[in-house]
Assembly symmetry: C3
């Protein structure tokens, strides 16, 4: 969550995955996400649902970012936060988020950021690899999961097997030598080395799949491209959590059905599809075994995204399960059980978060 007040342009930037201004004559508020923010978040600030964007932003400005963050996080009903700490910008830390939301927070470590920090701190490629190994080991003790954004940096069409030691060393030296401070890691050998370093720890590994900002090329983020990696990592048993997936979320569901150690997570797929999120969730519930679908909001930048993500998920799931129960396709008891699984139990089990309070 950003710490500073946002004007309309600044706010709109977080309503889109685009990195450019809205097209002439259009506004990022005129999207499913923009409408969902006005619907669900306006009442949290004491306004009518669907009040005009400017009225919403005026009220938001009066309250200030700290108060809005507190109100949103508490209204979201999310009790346990898993926070990716590898995003750029001056964002709240997990413990600040926990305090604001009266919640528990855990850290998810973004592998590529970890590597870039290790590179910044190292004098050469060899030192970089040593530092990287130590960082991974260190976070294995404090974080609940690793996360990879290889989808953004290269695409998921990476060679599936772990790169050899010599290959990694060569790539590390080459990359470190040519690197300017702050450069992003895009080298495929090092991206694979990161993935395998994480797999070897046994900690769940989250993988960005499907849509996201324009850094990625959509068709190279189809989770089906991970099939060989999934097969290669099966002997390790490390949980692989496929985030988002949209519009290939049915493919993620297939992988979760076909391979023991694969899970699917709704991620930002519901947040950005608003009034249609029930239908996207329904498609995820076609093949994904009910013990293997996880909920998250992918909230980033705006605390509103916690509210929107949580409400859309809750409403979509209720609607689907009420319908399936009314039709006799599911029993009410199963519907309650699956609700608990998706909303919390699956994540608790996969990330080892312990029982509910």
């Amino acid at each position: 969550m950003v710490r500073t007040p946002l004007d309309r342009a600044g706010f709109e930037e977080f309503l889109t995955e685009s990195d450019a201004p809205a097209a002439p004559g259009t506004s990022f508020f005129d999207t499913q996400l923009g409408f969902a923010v006005r619907r669900w978040c306006a009442p949290v600030l004491g306004l009518e649902p669907h009040c005009p964007p400017d009225a919403y932003l005026a009220r938001r400005g009066e309250l200030g970012p700290g108060e809005v963050t507190r109100l949103m996080l508490r209204a979201s009903g999310v009790a346990t936060l898993l926070v990716d700490t590898g995003l750029p910008g001056d964002l709240l830390t997990p413990s600040e988020l926990a305090e604001a939301g009266r919640a528990t927070a855990h850290e998810v470590v973004r592998l590529e950021t970890l590597a870039e920090h290790a590179a910044d701190a190292s004098r050469d490629g060899h030192a970089f690899l040593v530092e990287l190994d130590e960082s991974v080991l260190r976070y294995t003790r404090s974080a609940v999961a690793f996360k990879s954004v290889a989808a953004y940096r290269h695409g998921l069409d990476l060679a599936p097997e772990p790169p050899g030691h010599a290959e990694v060393r060569t790539a590390a030296v080459r990359w470190h030598t040519g690197r300017q401070h702050g450069d992003r890691l895009r080298d495929p050998v090092l991206l694979r080395h990161l993935l395998w370093s994480a797999v070897r720890t046994g900690l769940p590994l989250q993988l960005h799949t499907g849509f996201g900002d324009p850094d990625l090329r959509l068709d190279r983020c189809d989770p089906a491209l991970l099939t060989e990696f999934v097969r290669a990592t099966a002997p390790w048993g490390t949980p692989l959590v496929l985030l988002h997936g949209y519009p290939y979320h049915r493919n993620a569901g297939y992988l979760a059905a076909a391979y023991s150690h694969v899970y699917a997570d709704v991620g930002l797929s519901l947040t950005h599809t608003g009034a249609r999120s029930w239908s996207v969730l329904a498609e995820m519930l076609e093949l994904t075994p009910f013990g293997k679908l996880l909920f998250s909001t992918d909230a980033y930048g705006l605390p509103e995204l916690y509210v929107v993500g949580a409400r859309l998920f809750g409403e979509a799931l209720s609607r689907l399960l009420e319908r399936w129960t009314a039709e006799g396709a599911w029993s009410g008891k199963d519907a309650d059980r699956v609700t608990a699984m998706l909303a919390a139990d699956n994540a608790r089990r996969v990330y080892g978060l312990g029982a509910a309070v």
Copy 2:
């Protein structure tokens, strides 16, 4: 629209994207489009909805093609027609369509047809390139958009950057030399040259994506394949309008969300999916910003396709927005606003058509 009377076989040919007869024991009337024609167009001819095909065709024959065209165009409610004039066959011109439909008509110029005409009129490859340049320039003043069917001629997996001058000249000479009068343009260098010639004019460029007739290979028409071209053309700001998209219409929506100058158009995706068109439109409304989704019918050959395209779009949009409003996901005011955007305002803005009368 064809000028001549059609028998049953001739009529059925326009109900399908196939170029072969219907399989033994089947009829192209037994499709979503066939049912939609009987539903929506029979009443326009004074018949009961869903009357048998032969009764429909008999009535059509009595009225004659001119009268049927007038009745259908006026019943469609389409006030402004953007007509692709690059299709083969003896078809009504934009001004004839305008008169028949008491509508305004504008021309959309199909780049590949333009190039083929330029080649027919040129004595060699060099003259062809000069003539092509002049044609593009000429149409920039009279047409409202260019259109590319590179999807059909090669697939969308074209190299994204503009080809160099020498490369274009070599390709032009080679193609023109080997060409028989009437041959279609399939050379990837020249297809790219056409795309970039259009992009440089700033006039909106429509691109066929997704399904169509069997000339194309479906998986090479995924709009995601255009990602690099989209990136390369971003500095120009020329609007790229992705037509149809189905079954990759969610990918088109993603590109429209991620890149300022990209738009999506329902095209023939609704016409051919009939009773399911509301669901296809709903999927387009997941990621596509509401200011970036356009309506068209892709009507060709049969004037019935104007009625079917317009009715299916109108009914689908009403149904979705009534539902979303009833659920509280959208406000009624937003629903009205978005209806106006999709039905007319977005197209007016993108194609510079001026305000409504």
Copy 3:
């Protein structure tokens, strides 16, 4: 159908396409298929719908596999069975299934199994090819269709044209020489030879497309990959039946719409999507001409899968057509006619099964 009693683990194995145990803390009963079995099959055994898995399995154990098979097959309402006899394991034969279900059974011959049996029976690669030719010819007289699982063995991205004689002979000798008894056929030249051997007989050829067990890589089973093969086989007119297709079932529908000799079959797409099967069927009914969509259950291992496949198809189709009729999109008469086509008439015509009794 297996002949022997199954314990819980054995039963669960047939509820999934996975070949590994369920992930820790999860059960294959917690899937759309697991819920559908409890809903539709428990009443067939005299139990309440949605009774707990253990109660269901206890009752199943009391009745014994023979009685359960009889009850399920008769309850399914399937009057004509087309049985793929190429699956491994000690399974009921078509005539045993026919007797258990008081139904008529026909054989579908799996090409790859045929080839493996021919290889087992031949002393060298040349003898293998002779034996294979004779087997194909022999089955042309007794079977109603051939089936290919090239999707599993290689993926559908095979070269489309028939391999030359010399190429086939070389591949046959190489494969036969290196082969251990029981080895599966994965050689792409021989897989293509099998496809073309079948196409030349004119008997319908079923092709596995879309999801299945983890032997396949999902994105290499997209039916769109068959486009060139479809074009190459068009002159033969041999019906190609694309099975399953999910999650690429819209692509299968496109091919069925665009090419005369292509058909789509719901296969296991409905069985595994349970409460969502109406939606998957609806997507298949977007582009697939109504005379070209077939019903099958893909039942294998558990007789429950006949009941689930038939019920989900029947319920989904009723629901969709009732809705479309109520909305006025379809006439009641058309709905009845299309129901008969999908449920039986299309399959009768394509497989030459003669009229209904």
